[in-house]
Symmetry: C2
Subunit: 127 residues, 2 copies
């Protein structure tokens, strides 16, 4: 586990996000997906992924003519790290404040709310 889950940039996060969802992929696959919502050339995505590989965020193996990239940082680990930073900078360290706002304005299903409630119970019991 890397001691420093170096903060990915927004662009890098988009790529990681795709890889977390779809597993090891080629640049083409990643790019075609990103291109749906984003204006960017193929070589831009390629370069980005190459750089991420140099940084250790991705690894790759050759597969015929192309390369297959794999995320080298886990989704949870990265979320955790980003979340910590975010709570700190945007919510002055108050996780509760963030939770309140998130619940207040974002769609959440009844099941999810129950899950959260259960988590709250656990937290209070283990106090």
């Amino acid at each position: 586990m890397p001691s420093n889950p170096s903060k990915p940039t927004d662009s890098e996060l988009e790529i990681l996000s795709f890889l977390w969802q779809h597993g090891p992929s080629t640049v083409r696959q990643v790019h075609d997906f990103l291109a749906k919502t984003k204006e960017a050339g193929y070589t831009t995505t390629l370069k980005l992924m190459q750089i991420m590989q140099e940084k250790g965020l991705l690894s790759r193996t050759e597969e015929g003519r192309s390369h297959i990239y794999t995320a080298q940082v886990s989704e949870e680990e990265t979320q955790q790290s980003l979340l910590g930073r975010f709570v700190e900078t945007a919510f002055r360290g108050s996780a509760a404040q963030l939770v309140m706002q998130a619940l207040g304005t974002h769609q959440t299903s009844a099941e999810e709310l129950d899950e959260i409630r259960q988590l709250l119970d656990n937290l209070e019991n283990n106090r």
Copy 2:
């Protein structure tokens, strides 16, 4: 209310955060505070705040020789905007997922937990 709560950068957020907490302040006050945790020259902070003023993030009034800066975007509004973006990019749009992680790993007092529980109740009732 600005229709575009233009995303502040991390540095800008640090400054906004201070102003939200302490109210209208001079560059000196902001800088002295930031300097405790950050390595940066006075003119760097000054320039940053001048740019933020040009962008409309801050306003200022002259007060003798120095200027007093005031945040022109509210804390809630900004948090909301950043949160939305963050949920999207880091948590694939799942606010519940973010909430779970936040509660799981960040310190939260019993009072805060109760507050959250109450919010949950409200949400379920108004469904």
